[in-house]
């Protein structure tokens, strides 16, 4: 599954060029990040950390090389700190295995003897990023283990954001090495600690990691039990984590046959996902298409034609066409031909469930087209074995409200009922009400989602310095939004 997989720089050549051109700016950038960390710790402002820290890290990420990661470690961490030797060692291992020439850098060594835990763990995070981008997952795992152990020694709220990112790469490294089940209990312990300390962001990250862990092994039952029992805040701190949570919830609900709720969740998740998160969007789309088909809806053709997604969604497109036509034979063909794809997507069981929707839709078409048709004819059209089978199936369809008809057993035919004029019923009114309710709800949600700084109403005038800083931050935000979010 390529969901959540951080982008891995593929062209080594391009990377080398970038690192040659930008070492100075990279160093500066990292330095400014460290300064930011120190400042926010002093001000005890975690808000600053969430946004700017992660965005700035995302921009430096692509330029990381063994040499400048080492230089960064040397600059920021004091020489006698254990972490520094450990991390440098790991980076060197990664560099030697990828045969990278280790040019000597003459960066100034760190002079101070103590360092903030936040900065230290930020160094861990940088090394983790570097290693996962290099696909050195074994090394990343060792570093992640050490980092998680180190995080456990502190209890500082200013550390939460960095810790949450570390947890994420901790899970990622284990997933890539295929030992996801081994960290389940430690994740649960971390989650418990996070809840007790009101560490909202850690709580969210860990919850998603656990859900992912369970779903990776198809443990839907445990996942649902954990999800329903775990403490959740009304408002998620991180939009990305919420988006991911919705996807997991949608999957659970699909398996439990609660398609309407599943559809809501998956749709929300798809809307919230940043456009750059390609793998994630494709996976969510696949599930959403299936859920909609199971609900008896036919997804729009445009949904399959989104740029970059059409190739991946091709099997699902063919499937949709077969379902839309109510053509049992075509459906079986597609299901067999693309069986491997569905197996890889872990959706093959959902495809099996679709079987009865195909019959239902075929039946509805017949019901609309004929006012009276013999059961044997229906059996032939739907490729059923005989008229007797058809009779039972039609009877169930009538009871479930799929079609409006009457069976005459003596005559052996199905007669469609007169369709009453929809506009004489309360149907349009109900539809109108549903839309109004949706809009009002949307408005309320939007208001609830607004966040303000704690003392925004007290500050009357901003100094020119503060103003400049704010503008810089806004610019940075705009730029970062364009490049966007590393974590998808």
């Amino acid at each position: 599954m390529e969901v959540d997989k951080p982008e891995v720089p593929k062209e080594n050549g391009a990377e080398a060029v970038a690192s040659a051109a930008a070492p100075a700016t990279l160093e500066d950038k990292l330095k400014s990040v460290v300064a930011l960390v120190e400042k926010s710790v002093k001000a005890k402002d975690t808000r600053l950390l969430i946004g700017r820290l992660l965005r700035q890290t995302a921009t430096v990420r692509k330029q990381l090389t063994a040499a400048n990661v080492k230089a960064f470690l040397r600059q920021t961490l004091p020489a006698d700190l254990e972490s520094r030797t450990f991390l440098t060692g790991q980076v060197e291992q990664a560099a030697s295995s990828s045969m990278e020439s280790d040019e000597a850098t003459t960066a100034a060594s760190c002079e101070s003897t103590s360092v903030l835990p936040e900065v230290e763990l930020y160094a861990y995070l940088i090394v983790l990023l570097f290693l996962s981008d290099r696909q050195e997952y074994k090394l990343a795992r060792t570093v992640a283990d050490a980092a998680v152990a180190r995080v456990g020694q502190f209890n500082r709220r200013t550390l939460d954001v960095i810790a949450a990112r570390i947890y994420f790469y901790y899970g990622f490294a284990y997933e890539q090495t295929g030992e996801l089940e081994s960290i389940r209990s430690s994740l649960l312990a971390l989650h418990r600690t996070a809840v007790l300390r009101h560490d909202a962001i850690g709580q969210e990250t860990l919850m998603n990691l656990l859900l992912r862990n369970y779903l990776h092994h198809n443990l839907y039952d445990q996942a649902e039990k954990f999800r329903s029992k775990a403490q959740k805040a009304d408002q998620w701190r991180s939009g990305q984590q919420y988006c991911r949570y919705l996807y997991y919830l949608g999957r659970i609900r699909t398996i439990q046959l609660e398609y309407a709720e599943a559809k809501d969740c998956l749709q929300q998740s798809l809307r919230r996902a940043p456009s750059i998160a390609h793998g994630f969007r494709i996976t969510v789309s696949k599930w959403l298409i299936l859920v909609r088909l199971l609900l008896g809806e036919i997804p729009d053709r445009t949904e399959f034609a989104q740029p970059g997604m059409s190739a991946a969604l091709q099997p699902y497109f063919e499937l949709t066409q077969a379902v839309k036509a109510g053509d049992m034979r075509a459906f079986k063909q597609v299901a067999e031909r693309c069986h491997d794809v569905f197996l890889a997507d872990a959706t093959h069981n959902l495809i099996t469930r679709l079987h009865h929707n195909v019959i239902r839709i075929g039946l509805r078409r017949i019901n609309l087209a004929y006012s009276r048709i013999s059961l044997a004819e229906i059996a032939a059209k739907l490729h059923l074995n005989n008229a007797e089978d058809a009779e039972y199936i039609v009877a169930k369809a009538i009871r479930d409200g799929g079609i409006d008809a009457v069976i005459d057993h003596d005559g052996g035919f199905m007669a469609s009922r007169e369709r009453p004029d929809v506009y004489s019923t309360a149907e349009p009114q109900a539809a109108f009400h549903a839309r109004i309710a949706f809009c009002l709800d949307l408005h309320n949600e939007a208001i609830k989602a607004m966040r303000f700084e704690p003392d925004a109403h007290r500050r009357k005038q901003e100094t020119s310095e503060a103003r400049q800083e704010r503008l810089a931050a806004e610019q940075e935000l705009a730029k970062a939004l364009e490049e966007d979010e590393d974590d998808f």
């Binding site: 198809n218 039952d221 398996i255 046959l257 469930r353």
Partner: protein, 265 residues
């Protein structure tokens, strides 16, 4: 010590099941369970010892037999309990002992049980846990096929399957499914037909005699007129109700809009 005693007990337990002496088997199972508690290598302790593998194999076999026993006794709750215990063995001891030959069959039985109890959501949750290779096994394919037939409404096929089932144990479970299926089929017929000949009704609802149909019809308040079962038509009532204006609902809606709009402005 405990291991040898338990092995001996298991032999007698299996004999009793083979002879269909269910009450003896039941009491033996009780003794066996007590013995199992004394074995240190079983879940949840998983203590490592020289006889650990034997103990685990023994524990697993006892529970597999317990599932079969509860199945024969038609005790669904006991079956669920035994299977839940058994699952720990299948999931957590994969690395410790060779896989059981009965594993797929047991999972198939469990799926069937969920179908009988009409717990479809759990049925699908369980199904996801079974690896794709095992899903090709006939023991799993059968419940999957049955579930599909139930969803489609092909009740005749379900009942036909109940009649010529593979084994005795399956037959017992499927027989229980038959009653559920008949109720479903009846509620479908109620909506789909206006009237039905008694003979046809007997065939459709798979009764043995017309008298049984009449009794069933009485239970469901269906009228029997000159050899026809006449179902109540609710359609006429439905249309008259929809013509009346649902004033209370409309007022409520309007009040909600007013309140929400006031908040916005």
């Amino acid at each position: 010590m405990a291991l040898q005693e338990a092995t001996a007990l298991l032999g007698r337990f299996k004999d009793a099941i083979g002879k269909k002496d269910l009450s003896t088997a039941d009491s033996l199972l009780g003794q066996l369970k007590v013995k199992l508690i004394q074995l240190p290598a079983l879940p949840p302790t998983f203590e490592k010892s020289a006889t650990a593998q034997q103990e685990l194999l023994l524990g697993r076999e006892v529970l597999e037999q317990a599932v079969l026993l509860s199945c024969k006794k038609q005790d669904e709750a006991a079956m669920e309990r035994s299977f839940t215990q058994l699952r720990t063995y299948y999931n957590d001891t994969r690395t410790l002992v060779p896989a059981s030959a009965n594993e797929v069959a047991m999972q198939g039985l469990n799926l069937l049980r969920l179908l009988v109890q009409n717990r479809i959501a759990e049925f699908h949750t369980e199904l996801e846990l079974i690896p794709p290779v095992a899903q090709k096994d006939p023991a799993i394919q059968q419940p999957v096929q049955l579930e599909q037939w139930l969803m489609e409404g092909a009740y005749n096929k379900v009942l036909a399957a109940a009649k010529n089932s593979a084994s005795e144990v399956h037959g017992m479970l499927l027989a229980q499914l038959a009653t559920t299926v008949r109720d479903e089929a009846a509620s479908c017929s109620e909506k789909a037909y206006e009237r039905l000949k008694l003979a046809d009704a007997q065939k459709l609802l798979l009764f043995d005699s017309e008298a049984a149909v009449k009794a069933y019809a009485q239970e469901h308040n269906w009228a029997v007129v000159d050899g026809y079962v006449v179902f109540k038509t609710e359609a006429t009532e439905g249309t008259t109700a929809s013509k009346a204006i649902p004033s209370l609902e409309l007022i409520n809606n309007a009040l909600v809009y007013a309140k929400e709009l006031e908040r916005i402005v």
